[in-house]
Every structure is written in structure tokens, then in C-alpha cells.
């Protein structure tokens, strides 16, 4: 395609140039921009440049020429790489503003990074070959050392078959293309920590096909730390998902597990507070969540993580939701709560018991719709088939979702009761005292500040955007919706009252 551009008639005026027969593999900012050098331009970008200022710039061979420069000395008429990048940033920004017309509230620096990332991401998605990106241009991190990507991978082993390694490497390239991924990778390199990442079978995971795209429905991954080594396990089903989903979600999951949980665990270990951080500190999950969500947002991925939206709406609601979701979260605490944890745990117990009551009420609420549906079938002679999707919703909720939630809540009750009993014992009280000492260290105070700062950053990053469904599933033709049924019920009651 680029060859077609090169042979296209340019201007009537020819500029002297002497293109090298071999394309340079890397360009410095002051070098003449060369269309052949990776990562090359995306479709539309050369067109954009050629239309700027009524055709001021012309394509000539592998170069772009500024027709307004009369001075032919030193080939100043050839656009430099820096000039082309500036034009492309304007282009990327315009495209970004077209997609999200509201002010993002981000600083100029972050917007520039975003524009650059936009270009990298689109090149990557189109070509799919990380080699085309060339090395990640982060500059030397330490004197005499390689670039960040090489340094990072010297500490992170990718374990698996060649295709698995290639997929993980792609995800790492994208991760390091994000401002936050780069910043945290630098921190990781500084710790000298080691990690390995592998793909593994995850229980209850499946790949679902929606509108021709394959999505993961299951846990994206997990991690644990042992003897200064972080082990990250990614769901191998990622490799069966749609390519873009695989790339974005794997990058975000590696961010969450390695640079969220793992990096902070290493730092907590160095600070002597690992036990408190891993076992007791509620913002361990929040921080990892934020890292993954920020990387997704910086990548321009779908903003479909419902926990992220719940957290941004209300951190308090987010924590309360997690506390009735899995046993571990029910006993993690804030620095304020650890000061007197037993009353907090007793209150949690009462909340999860209320949740159990609410589950029963929810089941009753779903079930209450069945006789209403039957009424329209039996009395108004409507077809049962028209209520199929509503009956399916009721069945799913009362037979699967809510019973599974009830099972979790029962496990949470046992877990919290055991934690209270332990806390009331002499040895438990002593353990809590040790944890309180760890919570009082400056490390956890800094973590609190870091979480607040990441929350503000994410809020700005997603300002003006909203939840993006993986798909929108319109009601099947002829199927009655919940809103319609609700209106039918109230109209029927109104008629009967007359």
C-alpha cells in the first residue's frame, strides 16, 4: 500500500532527494521521516498529512516534503520524524475528541501520552506483530542498561509453549505501551524482584460467542508470592477469545496481578508489613483493581468492568459489595477499622446476615412475577412463548445466581464468625496487635494516598465515558420485556379497580 503512495504523482515540483536503498530501522527526532521505518503509518494517516494546510506536505518516495520550504540546503524540506509525530499527535487527538467530545480533564502530558499510545495500539491491533513496534522507546532506565522492555523481561519469565509465550509477549508489549504500565514496570525493575507468568486451566471458565466475537466468561487470573518470587497464572481460555479482547484483557490482567498485587506485595515485604498487606488490608484488592482498570482505560479497551464503575460511584459501596461476595474480603479492613476490629467484624456479620435475608426476599420478588405471567397466559389468553425470556430470567435468578450467592454468603458467615472467635482469644488478640503495629507503619499510609491518587487519575481518564457493553442483546422479536410486563400488570390492576 505504501508503494502505491510512493508511485502516486506528487506535486508538479520535484524536490531533490537521495533516498537510501535501505530503510533505517530506527529514527531519531531530527532524522528525515522515512515511511519504510517501523512502525510505519496507519491507513489514513498519510492522507491526513497530505491534506493539512491545503496540501502543504507532499509524499515523495519514502519521504514527506514541506512544499513551503524553499531552502534546499541540508534537505530542510524533508519533514523530520519529530515534525511527523507532532502532526500525528494532532490527528490522534482529533480522532480521540471525535470519539469523546467532552473534556477529559487530563493534563497535557497525559494527553500526549494517550495520543502516542493510540497510535501504538492501532498499529499493534492492525499488524498483530510486536516486532513491528520496534523497541519500546522509554529511554535508558539505568546507565549502560537495555531499554525497559528488555529489562522487564529479564526479571519476568514467560512460561509456556511458543504460541502461549507469543501471546503473553504481545500482552506485555501493550502493557508497556501504557503510561501506567511503563511507570510500574520501572518500579518493578528497581525492586529487582522476579516473577513468572504462565497460562493455566481455570475452573468454571468458558468462552462464549457473542455476535461473532469470542469473550472470556471466567476468572482472568490469579497470583501468589513465594520466596520473593511472584507467580502469575493467566486463564488459558484467553487464547480462544477474540484477538483484541485477548490482547487488552491479558495486558490488564497482567497489570492487575503482577504490577497491582505482586509489586505491592514485594514492597510490603521489604517494609516488613506483608502479613498485614496480604491478609488484612482491604485496599490490596482496590489497588490491584485500579491498576488493571487504568491500564484498560489507557489502552482504550472497553470500559465494561462493573466493579470499576461501582468503585468510582462509591468506594464505600464497592467495599460493602466485596464484603458479601467472597470470605476473604469480609475480613479485610481499613487502617481506621483495624484499630478496633471486633466491632467492625460483628457489624460485617450482621450485614451478611441481612444480605442472606435480602437474597430470600429477592427470590420471593422474582417468584412473585410467575403468577402475573400466568394470569396473562390463562386469563388474557396470551401466548406462553411471548414470556419465554422473562421466565428464563426468573429461572436463572432463583435457581442459579441467587442460590450461588447464598452459598457464598453462608461461607462468609462461617469465615467471619471464625475470625471473631479467633480475635476474642488470647492468641488472636496478640495476632491483631502485631497487625496493628504493621498497619501503623508509613507504608500503609502511603498506600492509602496512592489509592486515592489512582482513583482521581482513573476518574479523569474515564470522565465523559460510560459503561461499554461487550454486546447489546436486543429483546427477541415477539418477546415481552420487563417494562412492558410491569405496565401490563398496572394497567390490568387499574382496569379491575374500575
Amino acid at each position: 500500500m505504501l508503494a502505491a503512495f510512493w508511485s502516486a504523482p506528487g506535486s508538479a515540483r520535484e524536490f531533490p532527494h537521495d533516498p537510501s536503498g535501505v530503510a533505517p530501522q530506527q529514527l531519531e527526532p531530527e532524522d528525515p521521516f522515512d515511511l519504510r521505518t517501523p512502525p510505519q503509518l496507519l491507513p489514513g494517516e498519510l492522507d491526513y498529512i497530505l491534506h493539512v494546510e491545503s496540501g502543504r506536505y507532499l509524499s515523495q518516495g519514502p519521504y514527506i516534503v514541506d512544499s513551503r520550504v524553499q531552502d534546499t540546503e541540508d534537505k530542510k524540506y524533508l519533514l523530520t520524524t519529530a515534525q511527523v509525530q507532532a502532526l500525528l499527535q494532532v490527528h490522534a487527538k482529533q480522532q480521540s475528541l471525535r470519539r469523546h467530545p467532552r473534556d477529559t480533564g487530563l493534563s497535557g502530558q497525559v494527553q500526549k501520552q494517550q495520543a502516542r499510545l493510540d497510535v501504538i495500539r492501532r498499529v499493534f491491533e492492525q499488524k498483530g506483530d510486536p516486532g513491528l513496534l520496534g523497541p519500546i522507546q522509554t529511554g535508558p532506565l539505568l546507565p549502560g542498561k537495555a531499554n525497559l522492555f528488555d529489562l522487564f523481561l529479564s526479571q519476568v519469565s514467560l512460561i509456556g509453549t511458543p504460541p502461549q509465550k507469543a501471546a503473553m509477549q504481545e500482552a506485555m508489549v501493550l502493557l508497556l505501551a501504557t503510561p501506567t504500565g511503563r511507570q510500574l514496570a520501572k518500579e518493578f525493575v528497581r525492586t529487582g524482584a522476579k516473577a513468572d507468568i504462565s497460562l493455566t486451566v481455570v475452573e468454571n471458565s468458558k468462552v462464549i460467542d457473542v455476535n461473532g466475537k469470542k469473550f472470556l466468561f471466567g476468572s482472568g487470573g490469579s497470583s501468589h508470592i513465594s520466596q520473593e518470587m511472584i507467580h502469575v497464572y493467566l486463564n488459558e481460555d484467553y487464547l480462544k477469545t477474540d484477538r483484541t479482547i485477548q490482547q487488552h484483557d491479558m495486558a490488564a490482567t497482567i497489570g492487575h496481578e503482577l504490577l497491582g498485587h505482586g509489586l505491592e506485595q514485594i514492597k510490603a515485604s521489604d517494609a516488613g508489613v506483608l502479613e498485614a498487606y496480604n491478609g488484612w488490608y482491604e485496599d490490596n484488592e482496590t489497588n490491584a483493581g485500579l491498576v488493571g482498570w487504568i491500564i484498560s482505560a489507557e489502552l482504550g479497551a472497553r470500559l465494561d468492568n462493573r466493579h470499576m464503575w461501582n468503585y468510582l460511584r462509591s468506594p464505600q459501596a464497592y467495599h460493602q459489595t466485596l464484603q458479601v461476595t467472597l470470605p476473604y474480603y469480609a475480613t479485610t479492613l481499613s487502617p481506621d477499622e483495624i484499630k478496633d476490629p471486633l466491632p467492625v467484624l460483628r457489624q460485617r456479620l450482621s450485614h451478611v446476615q441481612k444480605e442472606l435475608d435480602d437474597i430470600q426476599k429477592s427470590i420471593a420478588e422474582w417468584e412473585a412475577w410467575r403468577p402475573r405471567i400466568d394470569h396473562f397466559i390463562n386469563v388474557h389468553k396470551m401466548k406462553r412463548a411471548a414470556f419465554h425470556s422473562l421466565i428464563e430470567d426468573i429461572d436463572n435468578s432463583v435457581q442459579q445466581t441467587l442460590p450461588a450467592h447464598r452459598e457464598n454468603c453462608n461461607a462468609i458467615v462461617q469465615h467471619v464468625e471464625a475470625a471473631i472467635l479467633r480475635g476474642e482469644s488470647k492468641s488472636g488478640a496478640s495476632e491483631i496487635q502485631q497487625i496493628q503495629v504493621q498497619f501503623a507503619q508509613a507504608f500503609l499510609m502511603r498506600e492509602e494516598e496512592q489509592v486515592r491518587s489512582r482513583r482521581d487519575y482513573l476518574s479523569n481518564l474515564v470522565r465523559g465515558k460510560s459503561y461499554e457493553a461487550a454486546y447489546f442483546s436486543p429483546p427477541e422479536p415477539g418477546q415481552i420485556t420487563w417494562d412492558e410486563l410491569n405496565k401490563m400488570v398496572h394497567a390490568d390492576i387499574h382496569l379491575r379497580q374500575k
Binding site: D249, L312, T325, D358, K361, E365, T401, S466, W482, N486
Partner: protein, 179 residues
């Protein structure tokens, strides 16, 4: 005298609420606010010193009263609240439902949703989320503002309308004492 006036207003409000069985109201006050909630709703004091909040719950319904905008509050003004994430449906601006009369003021009633039944945060779930709905309105008071809201914690429509009726009654009963 003020209490007597309020009780008379309440009786009138109950009569206006109209539909359904009339429950004995329970009177409450906070600063300049006077309001009533139907009997049988459990009261919880929530919120912080800066953002005081009272919550009344019954089954899956919650009626909440917050006083925001004071010193140290998370929100400086009604517009600050409306443009914040808390008022959105996963980032989408709240929906304007209709104008209502509360405490002698004509104010907008808004609605927004929030995701429920979220599950394990590590699980990727491409299905659309279930959303519960919150209706709310804002009553300015001097430099502060009251946020009144009703939540039905379910993705289903409110079939028995107990919550809806209690909410309408609460709004009708809400007054601000003039100083």
C-alpha cells in the same frame, strides 16, 4: 406549635398520598428538615461528620436523606454532585424523570442505576450487568443541599409499589423550617 403545624401538614400529606393502606407515619427531624417515614421502616444513621446521612430500609427498599455541601463535604454544590460519578449510571448522566414539588420548591426528580450481583471481581463477565435504580432529588438549603433518594435494590420493577408509595409520601412530608 411548630410540631402541631407539622402534624397537621402530615395528615394532609397522608391524605394526598392517596393509594394503598395508610400507615402511621413516624416523624423525624434533622436541623431545619422535617419529614416522615411510614411505620415499619428501620432507621440507620450512616455517612460521615461532613456528609451526614439517615437511611430508612424495608425489604429491598431504602429511603435516604443526606446533607451535603458543608465544610469537608465530598460535594461543594448540587451541580458538583450531578456531574460526579455517584449520580451516573456507570458513567452515563442521570435521567430526568419529572418535576416535583418538595418543601415548596419545584425540583427535578432524577433516576440513575447501579450494578448489582457483581460477583468475584476477578471474573470477566461479558453479559450486561443487572442494574438497580435510584430516584433522587436535590433540595438546596443555604450553602448546603439535601439529597433525597429512594433505592429499590433489584433489577426488577417494583411490583408491589410499597417503596414507591413510601418515597412519594416522604417527599410530600419533607419540609424545611424557615429561620
Amino acid at each position: 406549635m411548630k410540631t402541631l403545624t407539622f402534624v397537621v401538614m402530615l395528615i394532609s400529606a397522608l391524605a394526598r398520598a392517596g393509594e394503598g393502606p395508610v400507615h402511621k407515619p413516624v416523624l423525624h427531624s434533622f436541623g431545619p428538615a422535617r419529614y416522615a417515614v411510614s411505620a415499619g421502616w428501620k432507621l440507620e444513621e450512616t455517612g460521615s461528620t461532613a456528609d451526614a446521612s439517615w437511611r430508612f430500609t424495608k425489604n429491598l427498599d431504602t429511603i435516604e436523606l443526606k446533607l451535603l455541601g458543608g465544610q469537608g463535604s465530598r460535594y461543594t454544590s448540587p451541580s458538583d454532585y450531578l456531574s460526579g460519578m455517584e449520580a451516573t449510571t456507570m458513567g452515563k448522566a442521570p435521567e430526568k424523570l419529572r418535576q416535583v414539588q418538595v418543601a415548596g420548591l419545584k425540583v427535578w426528580l432524577f433516576r440513575h442505576g447501579y450494578p448489582i450481583n457483581l460477583g468475584d471481581p476477578h471474573v470477566a463477565d461479558p453479559h450486561p450487568p443487572q442494574l438497580a435504580q435510584i430516584e433522587f432529588c436535590i433540595i438546596p438549603y443555604k450553602k448546603n443541599f439535601f439529597l433525597l433518594s429512594w433505592t429499590h435494590a433489584s433489577s426488577l420493577p417494583d411490583l408491589d409499589t410499597v417503596g414507591k408509595k413510601a418515597w412519594e409520601f416522604f417527599l410530600t412530608s419533607f419540609t424545611l423550617e424557615k429561620k
